[in-house]
């Protein structure tokens, strides 16, 4: 079983092999590529600072493509653990693939540090080898939003729409439960299959329900179509909040154009957060790859730093040694402070910091929590024909 891998790792010559599994082809390749770029960028920086060689051993990243498919993710994990004898795994974009990698890592006793995969249950299994740092459980994406709702907006009724993926379903479920706990009426609650051309029937129906606030979990292009088609229907909720994912991305603004204005969203990260290095990362990435990164890239970037930090502290480069070092992590990254704790049934889960942002004049402004705010929330938002 796992013994073989461990011994091989000990006698490894002068490299510390870290396997990273990301979608580089297939439907999720866009994000996988961004994350790979970000990790490589972080690695370069660490290398320049002499932090990639520890006790004469150099950290070596081995990237594997999971083709956005989970049997490929499984194969990649098997290969990295058994063939390449990595001492640690990282990566995982979609929850599905993250699940599979996490399961494999747990049964082999190899530490796995998740980059993005956000399904709650991944870190709720009591799996000691699985760590989630820069990524939040999907039900926690809305922490800041609820704070904002409770303190300022106090919506009477809401509408929920979400794509019927893992992320969408679990985000919506968490949001729905929070509404019920507060007695907020849900007047419309529907999922959709991503990739639709026309959302108007759903939106027209929702318009009829006349919600105060709309909460939507969508990928980027669906997000932009939804807001554009809301404008076409002249549908005016007092606030439209996205649940991270699509609504904060540069492509969203690009495609939705002026329809993006005043759309709010929860998020884990924006370039304007006050954590040290955040805007540097943003600018550097943009310069290097000619494209603006979003929070996925930041997660990967931060993850690389967490890995380097843990390895620097590890007593030995065995999986167990690294596991121990990870567990003791307490550091700052561009995603904020990272610590792996056990709480609310989670294991090795960082307590995420989340934000509410709003598009204002084509820029994402942090509007909540107040101490991190870069702008003031516009609420209720002006009607489409009054803009």
């Amino acid at each position: 079983g796992c013994g073989g891998g461990t011994q091989q790792g000990q006698e490894a010559q002068d490299v510390i092999k870290i396997g990273v599994i990301l979608p580089l082809t297939g439907t999720e390749a866009m994000f996988g590529t961004m994350e790979k770029n970000s990790m490589e960028m972080a690695y370069e920086e660490l290398k320049a600072a002499g932090k990639t060689t520890i006790n004469g051993k150099e950290i070596k990243l081995i990237f594997e493509d999971d083709q956005s498919r989970q049997d490929a993710a499984k194969a990649a994990a098997e290969k990295l653990i058994n063939q390449d004898k990595v001492v640690m795994l990282s990566g995982g974009y979609s929850s599905a693939n993250t699940n599979v990698i996490a399961g494999t890592a747990q049964s082999k006793g190899i530490p796995f540090l998740i980059v993005t995969g956000s399904a709650d249950k991944i870190t709720k299994q009591g799996w000691q080898w699985v760590f989630r740092g820069a990524a939040a459980p999907s039900s926690k994406y809305t922490s800041a939003l609820w704070d904002l709702f409770d303190k300022q907006i106090k919506p009477r009724n809401v509408a929920i729409i979400y794509e019927n993926t893992d992320f969408g379903t679990s985000s919506a479920e968490a949001f729905r439960n929070d509404c019920k706990a507060r007695g907020i009426k849900i007047v419309f609650d529907q999922s959709y299959e991503k990739g639709a051309i026309d959302f108007k029937p759903m939106l027209a129906n929702m318009k009829k329900a006349n919600p105060d606030v709309v909460f939507a979990v969508s990928y980027v292009m669906d997000a932009s179509l939804i807001v554009k088609q809301m404008r076409e229907l002249d549908f005016n909720p007092r606030l439209f909040v996205g649940g991270a994912a699509g609504y904060t991305m540069p492509e969203f603004l690009e495609n939705a154009g002026s329809a993006a204005e005043y759309i709010a969203s929860t998020t884990l990260w924006v370039p304007s957060v006050t954590w040290k290095g955040a805007s540097d990362y943003f600018n550097k990435y943009k310069e290097k790859y000619g494209k603006e990164p979003d929070y996925h890239g930041a997660q990967a970037y931060a993850t690389m730093y967490i890995i380097a930090d843990a390895l620097a502290r590890a007593k030995d480069f065995t999986p167990a040694g690294i596991q121990k070092a990870l567990k003791e992590t307490d550091m700052m990254t561009i995603m904020g402070p990272i610590k792996f704790e056990d709480w609310e049934g989670y294991t090795n889960q960082d307590r995420p910091t989340t934000y509410v942002v709003q598009w204002q004049k084509g820029k994402l402004e942090v509007v909540w929590p107040e101490e991190a705010a870069s702008g003031k929330l516009v609420f209720p938002v002006p009607k489409w024909n009054e803009r």
Binding site: M30, I161, D198, F199, A204, K208, E251
Partner: protein, 291 residues
């Protein structure tokens, strides 16, 4: 009531968008009987070309159509000539191996585009992308209406082409009995090459017209292939007018499903209609127009 009307209008316009995508397929699958799983990928390539013209030279997507169409015509010709036509000559147990070839082509096209353009989402925003007008409180999208008209015109032209011209008739004849067409002096391999070219060009036209409304990434083709299939069958194989009929039916069914059942189940509604038509109207809606 207004919700119902809005749903129907949305359905009709959406249906027209679907029809745009499917017109090329009515030719390739309906007429030539080539089940082409690469159809959506061809639409996708057409969209990328239009996108590229827009980004590099600022060419409006509606004009970009006149670049993407000839380009796809060429690509389609090459695919038919060097790939699909070669299969015609071999004798295989299941004719479906041709389908698998198109899967291979689909993979190659998709991944090639991914290498060139990366996996990023792209879109073209024009001044008219979200223009609408209102009839009462019913909103109608202008570019979609435009797409609707073009879809009608293209279908009608294709119909005339296939029934009134010798080239069109030769295309149908070759599809039905290749050797017999050769006896008539038809250069069968050239005809199939041209047909696949025209089908691909029509796919590109659909893609270009859709671009300002939608968005683009390499895997978008899957979505289109599935819709185009359903429409071609709904309309009746080989019937050109079927693209419009099938598109509208699918669009309206999906919209009604989205409004009155759930957006998550709208595709199920479309698929069930598809199955019902397969079972009870074997000729598709063509059965109605014929008798």
């Amino acid at each position: 009531m207004s919700l119902f009307l809005q749903t129907i209008i949305c359905g009709i316009l959406l249906g027209a968008m679907y029809a745009l995508i499917a017109i090329g397929m009515t030719l390739i699958m309906g007429v030539m009987k080539i089940i082409n799983l690469a159809h959506g990928a061809l639409v996708m390539v057409g969209m990328y070309i239009t996108y590229f013209c827009f980004k590099e030279w600022g060419i409006d997507p509606y004009l970009g159509m006149f670049i993407s169409m000839p380009a796809l015509f060429l690509i389609g010709c090459l695919i038919q000539k060097y790939l699909i036509n070669r299969l015609v000559e071999v004798d295989s147990i299941l004719p479906e191996n041709q389908v698998l070839l198109t899967v291979g082509i689909m993979l190659v096209l998709t991944e090639t585009m991914r290498l060139i353009f990366k996996s990023d989402y792209r879109s073209v925003v024009t001044s008219y992308s979200t223009k609408t007008f209102f009839l009462g409180d019913i909103s109608i999208s202008i570019p979609m209406t435009f797409g609707f008209l073009i879809a009608m015109i293209l279908t009608w032209l294709l119909h005339l082409f296939l029934t009134r011209t010798d080239l069109g008739r030769s295309i149908r004849a070759t599809a039905q009995d290749r050797d017999a067409a050769i006896y008539m002096g038809v250069n069968a391999s050239r005809i199939t090459v041209i047909t696949f070219g025209i089908g691909s060009a029509l796919a590109a036209a659909g893609g270009s017209l859709l671009l300002p409304l939608f968005y683009l990434w390499p895997d978008i083709g899957h979505l289109f292939t599935a819709k185009a299939f359903i429409i071609t069958i709904l309309g009746g194989m080989g019937s050109t007018m079927g693209a419009i009929l099938g598109g509208l039916t699918l669009g309206i069914a999906e919209s009604l499903g989205a409004t009155y059942i759930s957006m998550g189940y709208k595709d199920v509604v479309g698929l069930i209609i598809f199955l019902l038509v397969l079972l009870f109207l074997p000729g598709g809606f063509r059965s109605f127009t014929r008798r």
